[in-house]
Every structure is written in structure tokens, then in C-alpha cells.
Subunit: 587 residues, 2 copies
Amino acid sequence: MAFKAQVLYDFTAEPGNVELTVKEGETITVTNANIGGGWIEAQNSRGETGLVPEDYIEYSNQFSGTAGTAAPPANVGNAAVPDLSFFDEFAPTSTSAPKQASNGNDPWSVWNSDPSRSSNNNWAPNAEGNQTGRNAAEPWSSGTHSHPQAYQGPGAEDDEWDDEWDEMKSTSGYSEPGEGGAIQRGGTHASSMKISLNKFPGFSKSGPELFLLCKQAAKGKEKISIYLGEVGPVWFYPEAQLDCIVADPKKGSKMYGLKSYIEYQITPNTTNRPVNHRYKHFDWLYERLLDKFGSAIPIPSLPDKQVTGRFEEEFIKMRMERLQGWMTRMCRHPVVSSSEVFQLFLSYKDEKDWKTGKRKAEKDETVGVMIFTTIEAEAPDLDLAEVEQKCEQFSRFTKAMDDGVKEILTVGNEHWKRCTGPLPKEYQRIGKAFQNLSSVFTSSGYQGEATLTDAMTAAGKTYEEIAQIVAEQPKKDLHFLMETNNEYKGLLGCFPDTIGVHKAAIDKVKEADKLVNTNKITAQDKVTMAKRASTMSYALQAEMNHFHSNRIYDYNRVMQQYLEEQVKFYETIAAKLRHAHSQFTTM
Amino acid sequence: MAFKAQVLYDFTAEPGNVELTVKEGETITVTNANIGGGWIEAQNSRGETGLVPEDYIEYSNQFSGTAGTAAPPANVGNAAVPDLSFFDEFAPTSTSAPKQASNGNDPWSVWNSDPSRSSNNNWAPNAEGNQTGRNAAEPWSSGTHSHPQAYQGPGAEDDEWDDEWDEMKSTSGYSEPGEGGAIQRGGTHASSMKISLNKFPGFSKSGPELFLLCKQAAKGKEKISIYLGEVGPVWFYPEAQLDCIVADPKKGSKMYGLKSYIEYQITPNTTNRPVNHRYKHFDWLYERLLDKFGSAIPIPSLPDKQVTGRFEEEFIKMRMERLQGWMTRMCRHPVVSSSEVFQLFLSYKDEKDWKTGKRKAEKDETVGVMIFTTIEAEAPDLDLAEVEQKCEQFSRFTKAMDDGVKEILTVGNEHWKRCTGPLPKEYQRIGKAFQNLSSVFTSSGYQGEATLTDAMTAAGKTYEEIAQIVAEQPKKDLHFLMETNNEYKGLLGCFPDTIGVHKAAIDKVKEADKLVNTNKITAQDKVTMAKRASTMSYALQAEMNHFHSNRIYDYNRVMQQYLEEQVKFYETIAAKLRHAHSQFTTM
């Protein structure tokens, strides 16, 4: 059965693909609504048939059925779809059915929330949480049409459907404006961690009492040590620094070529044996790390998932570079890098090993604030005032640094635009103007003209070369400066959550007397709480010291590289101009 | 008697002067309308009294008299004032009365044209043509309020009244926009010569027959020779190149300090004895040279006279620099530099010598096309086709070069604005951003921070220094490039007139057969015309060759200087950045 539908946004088919180009406002006929993966097959008025993203169309009113009918669902416009993620257990299991676009809390959802539509239901338990909604309209629009990434819970079997668009999504906080090819920079990186709040029923950000008052869990082999180093409390650092190389992106495809994805090769320096992972696997790792360590350690978000293009080399390169940056940062973290799940990701032996490890990681219960149960600080207990003071100090610092980093990103972004846009254009025009005047001179018919005109033409060409050097320079220096600051912006955005857990703990400890007085807790509980808040403070201090030492390293490196490239830049231009100058004869 | 008046434009009194600051729209009381020199004395509502430019006020309607009454004249708004300069002989003589602002054809005149107002009449015969109208509103407005400079005829006695504003007027084709201190460049230089058309009754541009058909004037001592040099016809060049230095501008004043002017010291390399001249004297010289040589030699206009400010050092320096450029160009011209009037200007012995020479020059009758009577070309006569071909070739070349020069001015102007405006601001912001982040780092309390922060602060300061270097650079290189091109733009703007005289001559010669047939001229006249057209062509060729050789010299020099300064600029920045880089410790 065919349905009429209205096209909501322009969609341009990828050449050589089975897609169909449609324009906003166009009426199309849906010839197959059961393609899956967020696609429908449609025919336009010229009889051309092809795939169109489901999100881009709205079924025409005359065909809209009521919720629960087999007909394609009516578009519910901007009506908010309640977040049903807490009701996973009520949703029917349908792992074999192709998943539809996950709409989560997305107000732009084309699906209503009727849970009876089981065949199209994406809230199935054990379904790996991948959003397939594609950003409509401009990829860097202010997000009106974007599908926010929402955490969707763990425990899924591998499901290779529907993640094509994940692969399509940009890692970029930059964009390329039409004119001048400037890359806009700055901050679409998620600015905060998404600490899982529903992993344990009743857990909430304001509830570090889970840890403060828990019976100390029977100690597993997990143990995170904190020592008093020269700079204060520090994590235990492994002797050999873990590192890995993310490389060799390969395009794979499924569904008879309809769906495609990119697989990266990750080679750790421990085994020196490459493993393959797709973006969705990185995402899975991120979620595990966030679950497990997020209360104690800021886990920066993965590179963003916005659409920039499809399998463009530039896009793949950029995402790989950022995945590399993310992995490097994780490798450098002594707690994260030595965790079982991270080791699994880097050095699983085979598919079976990976799947087993994956299931185990997803069942890990030492997550959320419970991570603090594994932390042992070899240091005297701190009193509440000290804990509070440290917490506030770090809060102030991270806020101030966040402002500083954002300032650099703003300024750098403007500079990037100028260096890639108007400035080289101007140098080019100067070059052209010299050459034009020189060619007029050549036409004078006056003898001995060549001594001037040859040199003048060369000078003009030099300015054209300078234009190109100027335009390409930001990629050589500003890029790295921007990337580093962008990374730090993401990292700093995680601190409020991490610090928030500590602040909540401090508040709880402050209540302790009252709780003892009202017999809610025992006097011993109060002592335990203070001791544990002290442990949390040591963890925060160790993390801050880790952050500081990395920060000093990173900024030293990035500043040096920036200045080095800037020196080269100015020297190159000076040399070119010196050569141009030498071509004039002294008169 | 006191009159009410409305203020038309804001006027800010010079501190320490007897002027009165008034605002547009303000009502003032004119307490003395007979100050003269384009000024009135007025009192504002706060009882303050001072001088206000007459042009800046409009007498209130209730007091406006009819034309010819003794009351202050009614403002005639935009009504065009007929140019009465041809009727000089009918205007009453009043050399002793202070001159009012000369309004010429200025539609913004506050004076009507009633010639009966003899006491305020500025069309007195023998009054040296100096306009005293002050530019209202913005000095670089598109000219709506400006008082166009108009040629006012020669033969004046020295009259030192009223030329204050001449001294005030800018030489600048540039302006300084409010933001960023950029100097706008490009093109208010007069783009054509003002060849005197009424010096000889009946002479007109289309009338080179004056020369073509005149009885060869009894040869005076004046003789301009053209030789056949390596490059073709060339002027006879004197062995020693005349040169002069314009320096040491001094402020003088008159009318009890109410009026002031600048006097420049000009020292020629021949006598090495300085003579003093005011701008009005340069202007007089320009008019003499234009009259005498303009038909054969393009005489570039003097630096413009627009108001930029009052006695600002910058303005005086700029005008002096341009007067120097103009004088240097005149000195370099073999015909101009050896002329009696030019020699007089550079090396008059005393006031009496100057006045005598001045009168003689003003009575010179070998002006206009008659200059060709003094030219002797030691070369075979050219036929009409050759003359025409040369003329067209030069016409094409000067047009093309004019376009090329204007392109450079346009591009250079934009570059100037960028280099003095947004670009240094951006470098400053980069510098500040580095320093701000560095100061946040300092607050971390983490030990060993100083190794990074000191270097980072230094890097930030380096970018602030670079900002300053960038902002000041255009004055070091672009300035000279712009000045030279601006000068050439002015010079090229004179060629159409010079070439026009030749074209008109060619047209006349083409008519010769017809004129012979209709007995308007004799066959001998026709031969004479052809011969004289040949002389004119040689003159044009000599002038073009002079132009070419100067052009090659000038552009060689300006390109070399530009590139040299550009090299220094990039090298200075590279060195600064290298130093900044060295302050980081390798980690």
C-alpha cells in the first residue's frame, strides 16, 4: 500500500546511491515504509523512486491513522514525547526487527509514543542505544532540527542495523562556511558528562549517600590507590604509559550496500596487535567509562556526531583525529587505562572474547558513586572544612579555566575565519594588482621596461603565493591550538558533575549531626560518612592533580607547536618576499 | 545690531582661540557680522561669545532682508549661484576690504549673488583666487558640503587676508576613520588639470588652431628642444638635476592671532639658500605652470585642500610630504624646472625680486597652446598617420595605467584598513586570551606551574606587540606605495587634457584639405599645420618618454621599498615569536 507524504526538509541524494533527492514542500508517494533503518522508499511526481530519510517526511493527513494502527504513524509535530526509558521492562522484546529511528525526548519525533507499536518500537530491552535520527536542514543549525543524543541504557546485543547515520555524524565543533572556506570553530562538544542516573533505581546526583552509608562492599580485585606525591594526593600511575594509535579507517557496508560505516583500527602499545572498532563501539566504551568512573573522574564526551557530509575524507580524518585524541587522553589516565573494560576494548583476542567481555562490563555493579568503594587513600582523613575548601578551590579553578578556554576558542575562531577568508583574498588582490599594473607597463612600448615588469610580475605572484600560505596556515597551527582547547572545553564541562557529587556528599555529611539526633543514622555512621567524604576528597585531589599535570603538558606542547609553526609561517613569507625583492634592479 | 541665527553644522572651537563651540540646530545671536574673513562674532544662550564660521550659520527668517539691504543676507539655501568670474570687469574694486568667503559655484553658499553688496563682494578684480569656504560637517564627507576649488584667474596682488582655511586644508586623499585609526586612501586628488580656458579670449580646448595657424611668434629667448634619444624623442635634460627640500614648516599669524598660516622653507640644490613659501604660493606656481605648459606637459595638481584638522602635526607633515613630492616631480621635469617662473619660485633673492618676478610671470603670453611655438624638434616631420598613431597609443596606455593604479589604490586602501583596524585588534585579543588563561593557570595552586605560565604570559605579550607592529606597518610600507600611486593617479588624470589638445590638432589637420578647398586657409598654411602637428607629436613623445623613464624609476623604487619593509616586518615578527617560543621548556 502506498501513502502520500509531504517532504519536511530538503534532502539531496548521494550520487551513485539508491537515494532520492526531494525538496521541502514536495509531495511524494511512500512505496515502501518497511525499509527500516530510518528510511522509506518513495516515488516523486516524475516517477523517480529511491530512499528518503523517514524523519524528512510527514505523512499526509488523509492517511494518518490512529496510534496503534498498522498504517504509518501520524506525525505528532512538536508534541513532547515522554521519556520512557524508565519503563524498559515493560517494552516487548524484538531484537530481530530492524530498529526505527530512536526519538528519545526529541520533540521533532515523527513517532508517537504508543508502546503498542511493537514492530517499530525502539525501546526494546537489550537494544543497543544508537540514535539514527539524521540532522535535518543545515548540519550546524542551532539544533532546532537536531536529534539530541540521549543515553539509552546498556545491555544490548550487537545490532548492526541502523547505525549508518552514527557513522555519518561529524566529530566537528567546526563548520565550513560557504565563503572563503573558513572552518568555524568552537564548542558543540558536549559540555557535560551524561552520568547515568537510572542505572540504579533511586540513585540521583544528590544521593552520594549510596556510597557514604553503604556497607563497604566485599572487596573485589578492583582497587584504586591514591598516594601522597610531591604535589599532593595522586593516583597510582602504572610504570609503562599505555598508548594507542587510531588509524586506517575502512569503509564497510551492509544491507546489500545500502548501509555503510567506517571501521577504525586501534593498536595499543601493549600488545601491538590492532583491533577494529566502529564509532558505536567507542560510544559503548564511553558509556561504560562514564557509568563506572563518572562520579570520580570526568570522562570527556566522544567527538560530536553531527552530520558534515558522507564519507568525505575530511570528515573521516577529523573524526579519526578526535577519536585518537580521546583515546590518548583515556590511555593517559591511570585509573581509566588500567580498567578491565578499557583493556578489553584495546586488546580483545577475538569476537567471542569481545562479546563476553562486553556482557561482563555491562553487568558491572561498581558504577556511579560506588566507584569510591574501590578507592584507597594512603593519607590521613581530612576534616569537613578541608574537604569543602578543596572542592570549592577546584570548582573555582575549573570555572575560570573554562572561561579562559572559551575565550581562546572565540578569538581563535574569528582569527581562523579571517585567515582563511578575507585576508588571503586581499593578498591575492594585491598580487593581481601588481601583476595587472606590470602587464600595463609591458604594453608601453618603452625600451628597458622588462627590468621593472619582470620583477613586478614576480612580486605579484609572490603575493598570490602568500595568499595561499596564509589560507593554509590555520590548519598547521591554529588547528592544533583549537583542537586542544576544544578538548579541554569538553573536559572542563564534565567537572561540574564530578564536583557536584562531592558537594552533595559534603551536604550529606553536614546533615550528619541532625541525622544522628533524629536517629536516622548511628554515631558510627557519621564517622564512616566523614571518612568516606575524605576519601572522595582525596579522589578529587588526585584527579585535579592528574588534570593539572596533563594540562601543563598539553599547553606547553600546544603553545610550543603553535609558536613554532607561526615562526615558520612568518619566516617563509619573509624569505619569499626577500627573493621577490632581489629581482628588482637597484637604480 | 544683533541678529538671531541658526547653527547649520557643529563647530568646535579650537582651544585657546577666540572661537565659540556651537551645535547644529542651536540658535545664536550674531553680535558682529563684520568681522570679515568668513567669520562672525556670536553669543550663545549661555552668554558665551566667540567667533563662528559664517558658512556654519543661517540667519533666522524674521531677520532676513531682501537682497541688497544692509542686513545680513538671507540664506539662499541650495539655489545655485551663477559663476560670475567672467564678469570680473564689472565688479567694483575693493582690494582693501576684507574678503568674504568665496562661494564660486558652491550651491551651499550662504551668500546670494547680488553684486551690489560691494563691501562683502569677493569677485573683486585682481583679488588672488583663494577660497576660504570651510568644509562643513565631516571633512571626508562625499563632498556635499565641500567648497570646490575653482580656478579664479591670475593677476592678483598679494592679499594675505582670508587664506587661513587654505592652510587648514588637507593634502590628503586619505581619511582617518574613527575606528582603528585606519587611514582611508584613494583618490580625492584632482583627476585632471584645470587648463585655463579664459586666459585668451576665444581659446578653447578644441582650438589648437591658435598654434597651428599662428604667425610664428618672434622668437624670445625661450626655446624648448627635443632630441632623438635612444628611446625616441626626448626633452633636453640639463646636466645637473635640479632638486629641492621642502622643510621646516612654521606657523605664522595675522590679525592679532585670529588668522594663522603655515610657511614652508624650500631649499634648492642650486643656490642652497632657503626661501619661504605658503601654500597659496605653491598654488600660484601651479597655476602659472598649468597656464604655461599644461597643453604640452601634464602638470599634476597640488595636494588637495580638504580640512583634516587644525595645525595638527600629522596634517602639516602630510601636506609637507606631498608638497615635497610635487616639487620633486617638477624639479625632475627638464622643461618645467628650467622655466623662469619655477626658478623664481625656488631662488628669488628678496621680496622685491619675488614681486617683480611674480608680475612678469603673470603677464607671460607664451601660455596655452602657444607653448608649442617655443618647441624645436630636431627630427624629421611626421605624417598625420604617425602623429595620430602615437597619440592613440599614449591615450590607451595612460588609460590602462590609470585603471591599474586605481586598482592598487583600492586594494591598498582596503588592506590599510584591515591592517590598522581589525587585524591588530585580533592579535591583541589573541595576546589577551593567552595571558588570561595563563593567569588562571597561575591560580591553580599546583606546583611547577610557573614554567608554563611565565612563558605563556610572554607569548601573550608577544602577540600584543605584534598587534602594534601590524598596526604601525602600513605607515612604513603601504604609505609610500599609496602615496606614489596616488601621485601617479593625479598625474595620469592630467593626460586626457594634454592628449586632448593633440587630438584636436589632428582633427584640424584632417580638415586642412577642405579648408584649402574652401579658401579658408592657403596650401602653405596646410603644410605649416602638418609641420606643427608634427612638433606637437614630438612634444607628446618626449613627454611620454619622460613619463616612462620616471615611472620606471619610481615604481622600481617604491616596489623595492615596499618589499624591503615587508621583509623586515615579517622577520621582526618571526624573531619575536622565536623568542617567545624559546621561553617554553621542552617537556
